[in-house]
Point group: C2
Amino acid sequence: MKIALLPGDGIGPEVVAAARRVLDALALPGLVLFEGDVGMAAYRRHGHPLPAETLEMARAADAVLFGAVGDPEGDNLPREHRPEAAILGLRAELGLFANLRPAAGWPGLEHLSPLRPELARGIDLLVVRELNGDVYFGAKGERTNAAGEREGWDSMSYCESEVRRIAHTAFAAAGKRRGRVTSVDKANVLETSRIWRETVVEVARDYPDIRLDHLYVDNAAMQMVRAPGQFDVILTGNLFGDILSDQASAVVGSIGLLPSASLGERTTGHGTFGLYEPIHGSAPDIAGHGKANPLAAILSLAMLLRHSLGREADAGRIERAVAKTLGDGVLGADLGGTASTEQIAAAVVSNLL
Amino acid sequence: MKIALLPGDGIGPEVVAAARRVLDALALPGLVLFEGDVGMAAYRRHGHPLPAETLEMARAADAVLFGAVGDPEGDNLPREHRPEAAILGLRAELGLFANLRPAAGWPGLEHLSPLRPELARGIDLLVVRELNGDVYFGAKGERTNAAGEREGWDSMSYCESEVRRIAHTAFAAAGKRRGRVTSVDKANVLETSRIWRETVVEVARDYPDIRLDHLYVDNAAMQMVRAPGQFDVILTGNLFGDILSDQASAVVGSIGLLPSASLGERTTGHGTFGLYEPIHGSAPDIAGHGKANPLAAILSLAMLLRHSLGREADAGRIERAVAKTLGDGVLGADLGGTASTEQIAAAVVSNLL
Ligand SMILES: CC(C)[C@H](C(=O)O)[C@@H](O)C(=O)O
Ligand SMILES: CC(C)[C@H](C(=O)O)[C@@H](O)C(=O)O
């Protein structure tokens, strides 16, 4: 079993180091770890945010644990050299088409949500976001229009097979949860959404026990604030998924606790190849001070063990240890506490049963 | 002064009738009213959701007061015959490029927000949404891709002049408010957003007293939940504006109170030509029962008087009458009260000073 660690920028190295401590404590037999440069850190050293060596290392692994990329200096670079190009490149090159972003409040931490407690309590949803298509990866550029002006353009599209595979991911996930899929599109305006909706309806026939409904993205953004407890699995495209999954994180409140998985089609012998990363970004303002909350990275590691290495029991051990750590009041500054990155990681390790 | 009334579908006719009562009570000299069919109502009668007569009537007016379009039956029609085609057609044909959507809590009604009271209290923002471009109006269609599959596609773009005119709208509006513009884009992924951002920065030079910052749309959707009080004017494109403005309405909570204006370039002698509509939709489930809250339509009328007819004093009279009505506890079912459409309209009329 091979895991590639890609710490990246800002607080990425700190939270990945913390997750690694937890991984070491599990003492998994036959596990090999690699570590690679990515993001601005890689650009500074190799002139590219996603060096070929890093990509090869990720490709050769069963799973990737990713920290974060992003750096204020990166904003002035051309798009292909910006730290964000690393994560977009990994998604494309590794065929990571299925982004799973669970958003649920932790019992006892509902006060972190900006929503009123009675709304915050019931949130337990999973955003299944398509990650290889849409306006992200279509042709794009700048041109001069008929009036002689500069015009920026991007192409949006989805074909049936792209929608089909992500829809299967969502319906299968709903089968293990509360059995509901809400597909989000803008079919009253976009042709891309029309194919999306028709294909989702078609795939739904294979899952007679799952209840499917459709929401326009503007309505979904409204419902996510008014009554987020109504959602089980939200199935959507790359662009709407970017917006709605961040909104879902904000609604839950504890963004320092939220993990994510990006899965490909390749199986690893133990599960599915995937990349795992905390939802939070590189947070350059607090980087290097040892105060980043590592729980989202640690919970991303749990997802990695579950989905890519087939180690459900170890994933559960980590998740219970995190729950105990939070229950004991070992909270980082983002959750209103004073525990350092180190202290939180140590608490999780000592809570592993 | 000519106003075209387009009541449309569902509760549209009820709320426009209520707004008309208020308009009648103002007894404006030299005002002429027209009424036209639009939406599903128009499709049933004329075979098209935006009949040529209706478009001509709107074009000949100084302003349009629009109710709502949308009907469950419409979902099965081809896109060009669906009720939504009417509002998209009006925006395109009338050159309504600037959508203004204020979202602010009413004092005393903060409990309607799904947010915690301390967050809900400070919300007072204006979304300035571009309404004539973006992926809404680009070329689009269905094609067969290289693999022989059906593929839906849409083209997104913005050119400099399109961004420039909406940016001027936003900066001018900020000058009359708290002097801040937050431009929202996805410049780390979209070329359309790169032109957007560069052009906004350029326009900002004409407004040295306005503070400009930029947010990616995913971050904006997060901030809108975490700390909506930070926003003054949000400047964004058609698609992101659709999502964020609905999210802003939900965050405020009282969607039955929120008006909107869609302005063109043409001046009317008294102001700017525009179309005014409540944010809420046609609500077919409660249509015809006399329980729709007409205040969003009545406040849309106030915006109409202000922006298109240059009647600031009358706009203020309506807004104060609405505030008094709410303060007196004359609330519709959506606000937790029992007042009917009629009763609310009557209260506003009797509160006009
Ligand atoms: C960094 C950026 C390109 C990326 C995206 O838009 O997908 C991020 O927002 C995310 O959601 O992982
Ligand atoms: C009805 C629909 C086409 C429209 C839009 O997407 O613009 C609506 O959501 C709006 O915001 O006015």
